[in-house]
């Protein structure tokens, strides 16, 4: 089966690259082994939020201070700035409204009430330059009865520490009560599915309006829609007070919505999205990857002019740790991993973990290497890459989106 470009990995990076390429007329396939990290989406895309424990205000300026192997350093500050603008347009053209700017980080709020530096935040979700600038006023944090993946008291404690007048309550309707029959299934995706039906959102909104009387701001868990954002719009229109959504523990409803929208867009552009399959091996000629085989398709090869590997980090098995080595399991690409196993991690879980920066070695054009030789028609993108520590520096989405766009642009230029 022949394609122009085949992308291995169907998460944020793989889909962004796939959409960019198909929208320019390429015939693309994405092969994905299971669902992606977008299901843990915080509602915000990070670009570069922290240098050690120091907050970064301007990510573009901070790139000069990064290690030379960092993906942003390889791209260069001006390319990062240009790609960051392209990314914003990319999502806007899909109807995904994001607020923020690459040269000025803002804050999002974590599920535990901490303010964290970030780049782009979904419309209607909690974002601010400072808490004072938000002028929240008298604030109500409203949960849904029995929903365990949202913690209003954590949030409230966090906000109270910052001097916000914060109160907590909960609300429900019959259908949502029925979901509680199975407490393990009382999750954001199922709540959203219930709210999508009939007039459930209308009745819930009435209840929320009642409870939030006398408050200036109401903070709600972000569970309003996995198929579209119509319910969010409805809520904001109907409620008289200021509405702020805050992401829940996984699965993330806005993340699922984004994953579905990106996949739909890719398919509408003619892309082939194959879920639940695994690439088993590749066939190389010289420095070129000619075709790949997968677990589902066995003897029928997938051929392409270019390939992108966007298989993610340890969680999605883009990287695998063995007793004494770290490897990239599909092509055995060269990986940076320093020291003995004991040196891969710090006993204190909150410290910088060296293994988080392990990843695939590439040249400045994102071509990975096998035994020191670059593969000229293969690009490595996303959290698979070496040197970035997405948790510590708050750079996960930025690395994924920007390197994906960069690889797609390089392929289109050829």
């Amino acid at each position: 089966m022949r394609f122009d470009t085949i992308i291995i990995g169907g998460g944020l990076a793989g889909l962004v690259a796939g959409i960019k390429l198909t929208s320019e007329g390429q015939k693309c396939a994405i092969i994905s082994s299971g669902q992606s990290a977008l299901h843990f989406f915080s509602g915000s895309f990070d670009l570069l939020g922290y240098n050690g424990t120091n907050e970064i205000d301007n990510p573009i300026e901070a790139i000069a201070g990064l290690d030379a192997k960092h993906p942003y350093a390889k791209l260069g500050a001006s390319t990062v700035a240009a790609l960051a603008n392209e990314a914003k347009d990319f999502f806007a053209s899909m109807g995904v409204r994001l607020n923020g700017d690459a040269s000025a980080n803002h804050y999002r709020i974590s599920p535990t009430g901490e303010l964290r530096k970030t780049w782009l935040t979904l419309d209607k979700h909690f974002a601010c330059d400072s808490l004072e600038s938000l002028s929240l006023g008298k604030t109500l944090i409203l949960n849904i009865d029995g929903f365990l993946d949202f913690h209003p008291h954590f949030l409230s404690d966090g906000l109270k520490r910052q001097g916000v007048d914060c109160h907590v309550a909960s609300v429900t309707i019959d259908e949502l009560q029925r979901l509680r029959t199975s407490p393990t299934e009382m999750r954001s995706a199922n709540i959203a599915k219930v709210l999508h039906k009939d007039d459930a959102i209308v009745r819930l909104t009435e209840k929320i309006a009642e409870k939030s009387q006398g408050f200036d701001t109401v903070i709600l868990p972000s569970v309003f829609g996995i198929y579209d954002s119509l319910m969010e719009n409805y809520l904001v229109e109907r409620l008289k007070c200021n509405v702020k959504l805050v992401s829940t523990f996984p699965p993330s409803a806005p993340g699922i919505r984004l994953q579905m929208a990106l996949k739909q867009r890719f398919q509408n552009l003619g892309g082939v999205y194959m879920l639940g399959d695994m690439v088993t091996n590749g066939h190389f000629e010289g420095n070129r990857l000619m075709d790949i085989h997968t677990a589902n398709h066995k003897d029928i090869p997938f051929e392409a002019d270019n390939f992108i590997i966007a298989t993610g980090s340890f969680f999605s098995h883009g990287l695998q740790a063995h007793l004494n080595s770290i490897c990239e399991p599909i092509f055995n690409l060269d990986v940076t991993a320093s020291g003995e196993r004991q040196q891969w991690f710090d006993q204190n879980v909150f410290e910088t973990q060296p293994y988080m920066s392990f990843g695939v070695v590439t040249d400045s054009n994102l071509h990975p290497q096998i035994e020191g030789q670059s593969v000229e028609n293969l690009y490595a993108v996303g959290s698979l890459l070496e040197s970035a520590n997405c948790l510590k520096e708050a750079s996960g989405a930025g690395v994924s989106i920007l390197t994906a766009l960069k690889a797609a642009n390089n392929i289109l230029k050829r």
Binding site: M1, G34, T181, S182, E185, P250, D299
Partner: protein, 418 residues
């Protein structure tokens, strides 16, 4: 083999489960039926407990449709669906009801019904009869049984058998119950295509129902007997005669290849790759440029493709859709890949009717909005469900290709002379 030594180590890699909950997002049941504890809880979470003590088995596992969409979504490659089905087989003490035996015994019921097809079709279609079946057997009265054919596929085939030997190349066809008793045309369509590209079509020495309905209705011993018989016939075809075994139903093929091994403990590793969907077989021949298809100029259709759950698990929808896209007059849209809710015999049961329709709701709406000329899908029970729940007719991709095929031209292109 070492199960006794390591009681807490599974063969289904549930230890890989990270509790990320992604599977529950894609479970068609959990959102509409809160009595079902969801794939994570029913699968890896409870398996840990069940391995220690069988009393932890939860009867609500019967709500699982065995659609395997949890497995397709799992980022950690945990065989969640297999864990749940295996637990039902191992621990469930529910006895199948008479109704379940009737629904599951497709061969016996099919043989009787096709013998008296005109009478049976009329009688089971009558409203009072539907009400009686609803009240006495708990087969929901909203359901319409697929029509039985008075001539079985096997009887039709007997007259063609001699002609099929004349070809140079050969395959075996696992036709399944639906083609044999309800819709022989699909089998004839496959023969038409394969003959046009130079392949003779043969039946297996012995064929029984693949047993998917027996497994889901808890008739495991019978399922195993049929599975062993089918596996032996397939082995003979693949190993001795060198004939690949093709099917036109994604569920039959999935059951023969994967469920026999995963759920019934039958070792078929040596022949697994010799069993496949006809669309995959034909696609491979075209992809490797061994075969060409020629299509009629006057064939025009707007088609929407529905991916059956087991097709999604196989990952093979691309072969059926790629073949249909080769037809110049076809405009193909992909429907969202979601369960239609029927899950074989599940949706026919009175107690499941409502849930079954709720699961399929979004697909039905999508179909009604699109208003295609017809829906294409590789599964017969999906076809029944979509036809019962929408105004649109459903066809198997093989029938679509057969209809659009220019047989003479195709034979010439492939130098088939008889």
């Amino acid at each position: 083999m070492d199960k006794k030594i390591a009681l807490n180590i599974s063969t289904s890699n549930f230890e890989q489960c990270l509790k990320c909950t992604i599977c529950t997002v894609y479970c068609p049941v959990s959102a509409v039926n809160p009595d079902y504890p969801g794939p994570k809880q029913a699968g890896p979470d409870n398996e840990r407990m069940r391995l220690k003590n069988a009393d932890f088995y939860d009867k609500s596992l019967k709500h699982c449709l065995n659609c395997k969409r949890c497995e397709v979504a799992c980022p950690s490659n945990v065989k969640i669906g297999d864990i749940i089905q295996a637990a039902r087989i191992k621990y469930s003490t529910d006895k199948p009801k008479l109704r379940d035996m009737i629904l599951a015994n497709t061969d016996i019921v099919g043989t009787m019904a096709s013998t008296f097809a005109p009478i049976v079709n009329t009688v089971v279609g009558m409203k009072p009869v539907k009400m009686i079946m609803d009240k006495t057997l708990a087969i929901d009265h909203h359901r319409t049984f697929p029509k039985y054919s008075s001539q079985r596929f096997e009887s039709w085939y007997k007259k063609q058998a001699a002609d099929q030997d004349k070809f140079d190349k050969h395959i075996s066809y696992f036709h399944g119950c639906y083609v044999n008793y309800n819709f022989p045309k699909l089998g004839k369509d496959l023969v038409k295509i394969l003959n046009a590209i130079g392949y003779g079509v043969h039946l297996l020495e012995k064929e029984k129902c693949c047993g998917v309905a027996l497994i889901s209705n808890g008739l495991i011993d019978q399922a195993k007997r049929q599975a062993l018989l089918n596996t032996e016939s397939i082995r003979k075809s693949v190993k001795e005669q060198g004939r690949t075994v093709l099917g036109t139903s994604s569920t039959c093929i999935f059951t023969l290849r994967d469920e026999y091994h995963h759920l019934l403990d039958i070792d078929n590793e040596d022949i697994k790759d010799g069993i496949e969907l006809a669309t995959r077989f034909i696609f491979r021949l075209i992809d490797s440029e061994d075969v060409k298809l020629a299509f009629r100029d006057d064939y025009k259709a707007r088609i929407a493709y529905h991916t059956p759950c087991h097709m999604e698990k196989l990952g093979w929808a691309i072969y059926s859709t790629s073949l249909m896209r080769m037809i110049p007059g076809v405009q193909l849209t992909m429907l969202d890949s979601q369960c239609c809710g029927i899950a074989g015999t599940y949706g026919f049961k009175k107690e499941n009717y409502e849930v079954s329709q709720k699961i399929g709701e979004t697909i039905f709406k999508q179909i009604e909005t699109l208003q295609p000329d017809f829906v294409a899908t590789d599964c017969e029970t999906c076809k029944w469900q979509i036809e019962m729940s929408t105004s649109v007719e459903v066809q198997n991709p093989i029938s679509i290709i057969a209809d659009a095929l220019d047989v003479e031209k195709t034979m010439k292109l492939n130098k088939v002379n008889l």
